[in-house]
């Protein structure tokens, strides 16, 4: 339980940092533009060397992918790179494994360098998301429409045949937005036409709210719906009622 709490706290801190980071104004260039360009160039170069040492066995030395092992990452963009690396889904030990959430394998600065390298190859940027501007009511509707089939309405995860839909409580707002836009692994992707920026804010606000559901009926019991609740009612309350009935009943010999 305490480990879970700790994870929640960690996710909360990470989420807050992400929100603060997004809400903060973009860093001003201190010097002339070419200084920034040089910094970018050095980050890209470092990212490329990290890519060659850590990723190229599947994605290829030139990032064009290797048949049967990994796809090309040209055009994957910063969104995909940041999502896969910051959620620890990449690197994979074995190319046929299903990528699942894990502690990130790289330090923050290394992730930034790798993201800079992949971003330089083209593709979508990291989506901006402001969950504090989201509307909870619209969010739960959008979630029910687009996400609940696999992830369940409380975001506790589920399965699609051949893949696991992960629980969403640990995901940061940015990671949720990235997943919606890129569609990692076998998840479909959702373009601006299907889920616009405002709806995405609503959606992220709802997903974040599922970390602390208000459990109005009492205990959440895993928030998995009526099956565990029914088990508790039958196995505990039913047995208790039987005992009471036995105690107050009178028997004559």
């Amino acid at each position: 339980m305490s480990r879970r709490r700790a994870l929640f706290a960690l996710a909360l801190v990470a989420g807050t940092l992400a929100v603060v980071g997004l809400a903060a104004p973009p860093p001003r260039a201190q010097g002339p533009a070419d200084v920034r360009a040089a910094a970018d160039a050095s980050a890209i170069a470092r990212g490329r060397s990290l890519f060659v040492s850590g990723c190229s066995s599947c994605h290829g030395m030139d990032a064009r992918g290797r048949p049967g092992r990994g796809p090309s990452v040209i055009g994957a963009g910063a969104a995909a790179a940041d999502f896969y690396l910051s959620t620890g889904r990449m690197p994979l030990a074995e190319p046929r494994d299903e990528p699942t959430r894990a502690p990130p394998a790289y330090r923050r600065s290394d992730i930034r360098a790798l993201v800079a390298y992949i971003a330089a190859l083209g593709g979508p940027t990291i989506p901006r998301v402001a969950p504090q501007q989201g509307r909870l009511r619209e969010g739960v509707h959008a979630f029910a429409d687009h996400c609940a089939g696999c992830h369940q309405i409380v975001g506790r995860g589920g399965i699609a045949t051949g893949a696991v839909a992960p629980p969403l409580q640990e995901a940061t707002p940015t990671q949720i937005a990235e997943a919606v836009r890129i569609g990692p692994y076998v998840m479909p992707r959702f373009s601006e036409r299907q889920i616009d920026a405002q709806t995405l804010d609503d959606l992220v606000r709802y997903v974040r709210s599922t970390r602390h559901p208000d459990d109005r009926g009492g205990w959440g019991i895993g928030n998995l719906g009526p099956v565990p609740e029914g088990m508790v009612a039958w196995l505990l309350a039913g047995v208790a009622l039987l005992i009471v009935a036995r105690l107050i009943g009178e028997r004559t010999s």
Binding site: P95, D145, C150, G158, A160, T161, G162, P188, G217, V239
Partner: protein, 321 residues
């Protein structure tokens, strides 16, 4: 959990010991036990008072701190104590007495004789043969009617009513809010739910899912060539197993290391291969999702190019198409 099991075990053992106790002499049914039992009275009164206190606690908590667990605890304890006090009062405080009630006489000789005579007289009114003949006639008439009346049910085949959907050649695909679906809205690895323009979206045959796969990967049956312009495929959203809404789209980012694109029903995980016309590749569904042929209007709106390829909804009876 372990402590709970131990508690249950202890309770069972207590019962067993009680059952094993040798039975005393049976109580005299006519004795009236009216001894005062001050201890039982005090305990019952105390239980009632505490139950009242917990009832008040419930009311206070409801106003001050509406925590469901505490509220349930307060009300539960109050009701349990009330029940305990009632049981105690019933068993120990109220005088125990077994009384025998006198009952009136049941048999009256003169009425019995009159009834016997009435029964004997009634048997003489109808002869046995006429009675049986009339009954057989009624049976024949009833069975004849049962055979003849169903002829009125022979009429137009019900199949075209079952197969009816709002989809016809030229019916446009629209979003839930009525906006038309454009061909370019459907990107690869995206799932769009669409409804027929100007029809009731709640009708079973209305909702379809639209996906896009590369044209070169299409593997549709021969008679469905041309149903998927630009690789756009539309299928009924109603699962052919139990009629749930097919809402899951397994859309692989990189197919060699995962599974192929498929529509999945969230109820029982029936899985339909979109490239092969929604053939069932996993799960309990007995037949493919019906496919809707598509065409693209000059203004890029998506239109149906005909009706659904089969019956909508669960595969019941002999509906296998």
């Amino acid at each position: 959990m372990r402590r709970l099991w131990r508690l249950l075990l202890a309770l069972v053992l207590v019962w067993r010991r009680r059952d094993a106790a040798p039975p005393g002499p049976p109580p005299d049914p006519s004795s009236r036990d009216t001894r005062p039992r001050p201890r039982a009275e005090r305990v019952a009164a105390a239980a009632l008072a505490i139950a009242g206190a917990f009832g008040v606690a419930f009311a206070v908590l409801f106003v001050v701190r509406p925590d469901t667990q505490l509220l349930g605890l307060a009300l539960g304890v109050a009701l349990a104590l009330l029940a305990f006090a009632l049981v105690l009062a019933g068993k120990r405080i109220v005088p125990q007495e077994i009384a025998v009630e006198e009952r009136p006489e049941l048999v009256r000789e003169e009425d019995e004789a009159a009834t016997a005579q009435a029964v004997a007289e009634s048997g003489e009114g109808v002869s046995r043969r006429r009675l049986l003949g009339a009954a057989a006639g009624m049976a024949g008439a009833g069975l004849g009617a049962a055979l003849i009346v169903p002829i009125s049910a022979l009429g137009p085949n019900v199949a075209d009513r079952i197969d009816h959907t709002p989809w016809r050649d030229g019916v446009g695909l629209a979003y839930e809010d009525g906006r038309p679906v454009l061909a370019d809205d459907v990107e690869s690895r995206a799932l769009i739910t669409a409804f027929p323009t100007g029809a009731d979206p709640r009708e079973l045959g209305s909702p379809v899912v639209v996906v896009r796969v590369p044209v070169t990967e299409l593997d549709l049956p021969a008679r469905r060539q041309g149903w998927a312009p630009e690789g756009l495929l539309a299928f009924s959203k109603i699962c052919t197993h139990a009629g749930c809404a097919v809402g899951l789209y397994r859309a692989p980012l990189y197919e060699p290391t995962s599974r192929g694109p498929a529509l999945v029903c969230p109820c029982h995980y029936s899985t339909f291969d979109v490239r092969r016309g929604a053939e069932v590749i996993f799960g309990p569904a007995g037949r493919p999702l019906p496919q809707l042929p598509l065409r693209i209007a000059p203004d890029r709106r998506l239109l149906a190019a005909g009706g659904m390829s089969g019956s909508i909804g669960p595969a019941w009876w002999s509906v296998k198409r």
